[in-house]
């Protein structure tokens, strides 16, 4: 008690002038980043909201102060159908990626011993190379005259001019490429949650007669759920907002919600409807973060 009181005294005994200086120093350290993020992150998002409500318009004749853009988002089945289709595709990708990523993360955390960090880097290295170039690789492989089809032609399995139609410009292609792109990334949060697991819990379970299988389902898996949820969210959010992969390998069948937004902005110049679609997406993402945010220990995604 005495020590605490003394420490307290030390803090408050600084003169008013000193306290003022400390506060100014903190303010000086914080303000550059806060001002920057205020101007180039919060303000622009506010402007998108303004656009969706017609408080700001691109052309003089646009809908001024109206909810019409929001009417388009919810009223026309076009956009809502597209949204649910994208949700289905992103969910498929997230489930596949976590299902395939889990055993690998488990192997690295539990079975690889000394080599685990080296193997983790081998696994993650592709994620650190160019996103576009990894998509390009699949475009080359899956294309109508691509690696797979030309291999089938030259071995006589299929006739030239009769490519497998679902290989590219399909939902299959988009899902495959997104799984490819994101799978190294999910291993990180799952690995982190398994690697931090207290091994003595597993030993205790074994001592009490539980089989390895039972130990896994009763102890290991429940304790790794935060990592699994983090992985799931970290894949779902960027894939639901993606338009690059669907534009490159999706064609019309693999067209996603993000493509609609980007086309409204860069093609149709209907920024108001595009803004309403974007804000709707932002609300969905924010809701997910609000629900699952406590599982998202962002530090697990930096290799430490």
């Amino acid at each position: 008690m005495a020590v605490e009181a003394g420490a307290d005294l030390k803090v408050t005994s600084g003169s008013r002038h000193m306290r003022m200086r400390r506060r100014l120093a903190t303010l000086g350290l914080l303000s550059p980043s806060l001002v920057y993020m205020g101007i180039f992150f919060l303000l622009p998002v506010g402007l998108v909201v303004a656009y969706s409500l017609g408080a700001l318009t691109l052309f003089p004749g646009d809908r001024y102060l109206s909810l019409e853009s929001w009417g388009y988002v919810f009223g026309r089945s076009l956009y809502m159908d597209l949204f649910w289709k994208s949700v289905r595709m992103s969910l498929t990708v997230s489930v596949l990626v976590v299902t395939f990523g889990y055993p690998v993360a488990y192997y690295l955390a539990m079975g690889a011993r000394k080599r685990k960090y080296v193997l983790l880097i081998v696994l993650i290295a592709p994620f650190l190379t160019s996103y576009l170039l990894r998509v390009l690789a699949w475009k080359v492989i899956l294309g109508g005259n691509g690696v797979i089809n030309s291999l089938l032609y030259s071995t006589g399995v299929r006739d030239p001019g009769d490519p497998i139609s679902w290989l590219i410009y399909s939902q299959f292609a988009v899902i495959l490429v997104l799984v490819y792109v994101w799978i190294p990334f999910v291993a990180l949060p799952i690995f982190a949650s398994l690697d931090n697991l207290d091994r003595s819990l597993l030993e205790a379970a074994t001592d009490l007669g539980a089989s390895r299988w039972k130990t896994f389902w009763k102890i290991t898996f429940p304790l790794s759920i935060p990592g699994v949820i983090a992985a799931f969210i970290f894949v779902f959010i960027p894939t639901i907002g993606d338009y690059v992969t669907p534009a490159l390998v999706g064609g019309t069948r693999g067209y996603m919600y993000g493509n609609a937004i980007s086309d409204l902005f860069l093609g149709a110049f209907d920024w108001q409807t595009g803004s309403a679609l974007a804000i709707f997406l932002l609300i969905v993402v924010a809701t997910l973060i609000a629900i699952f945010g406590r599982f998202l220990n962002v530090r697990t995604v930096t290799i430490e």
Binding site: G111, L128, A137, F234
Partner: protein, 283 residues
């Protein structure tokens, strides 16, 4: 001793899973590498002989070189600004006590979980409303927003490991706040500063979504690549380029990782010999 987590057979199965995943991850890259040396304008089997002409062609592609230069400028500018913002924010978050710390770190990390598409269109609207013409500077402005969370995430853990008592010693010996930062704190967090810069640089160099929305007449490398990929006319050349870029970034990643490990070990020994007990036990 038997392993409580994995049986022997389980280990074999998991090893096989890991091997298959690596095959899935690296096979497309290897296929690209093979075709980058293939002497044919189409990327099809059967292979038709070895050539280096696709590599020569992209090296002499003027448009591409200009785009690469633009990307280098954008990446260098945006990561320098992001690291500067990240250092001051990280020092405040780790060393200072203030009201609303959770909200501040939330704001600084938020771009991490916002789809880039939304960041891109919101900045497009901002620059349009402010009548600022799009250029490589507007792209760099957007890339700072994306990079700041990563610089904070790299710098904060390192700063947490640098003992406060070293800074206090400097202050007790009469050094001013800025002087203490310059001579004590900054040298100790320098490895993290460098890796924050590298992370931000690679992020910006590869970023296509925000750049597509904010590019003026001069496009960056990923934006150029994206246009080439949508309507591929010079496919083998782009593939050769892809292989070259992947090889370079592979070397950079491995080099940065080795550098970081050496720096971490050095920090641990330095601090241990300086006699700060809390650094014991750091691998």
């Amino acid at each position: 001793m038997t392993d409580v987590a994995i049986s022997r057979r389980g280990l074999r199965v998991l090893k096989a899973c890991f091997g298959l995943l690596l095959l899935f991850l690296y096979a497309p890259i290897l296929i690209m590498a093979v075709f980058s040396f293939n002497d044919s304008i189409t990327v099809t089997f059967p292979l038709s002989g070895f050539t280096l002409r696709w590599y020569r062609e992209f090296l002499s592609n003027g448009e591409l070189m200009v785009a690469l230069r633009a990307s280098a400028i954008v990446a260098a500018t945006s990561s320098a600004i992001a690291v500067a913002l990240g250092i001051s924010a990280a020092v405040a978050l780790v060393r200072k006590r203030f009201f609303g710390k959770g909200a501040v770190s939330g704001l600084l990390l938020a771009p991490l979980v916002i789809p880039y598409l939304i960041l891109g269109i919101s900045l497009l609207i901002l620059f349009n409303a402010a009548a600022i013409p799009l250029s490589i500077l507007t792209i760099a402005t957007g890339h700072v927003v994306i990079s700041v969370p990563y610089t904070v995430l790299v710098l904060v853990p390192r700063l947490e490991r640098v003992s406060v008592s070293l800074e206090e010693a400097a202050r007790d010996l009469g050094a001013s706040g800025p002087r203490t930062f310059r001579s004590v704190t900054f040298p100790l967090i320098l490895p993290a500063v460098i890796s924050a810069f590298l992370v931000a640089f690679t992020l910006s160099f590869d970023e296509v979504v925000v750049a597509s929305f904010l590019a003026g007449d001069q496009v960056t490398f990923p934006v150029y690549l994206y246009s080439q990929l949508r309507f591929p006319t010079r496919l083998p050349q782009v593939i050769a380029l892809a292989v070259a870029v992947m090889a370079v970034s592979g070397f950079v990643v491995i080099g940065a990782e080795i550098g970081r490990r050496i720096a971490d070990r050095r920090l641990a020994t330095q601090l241990a010999s300086a006699g700060t007990p809390e650094t014991r036990g750091i691998p």
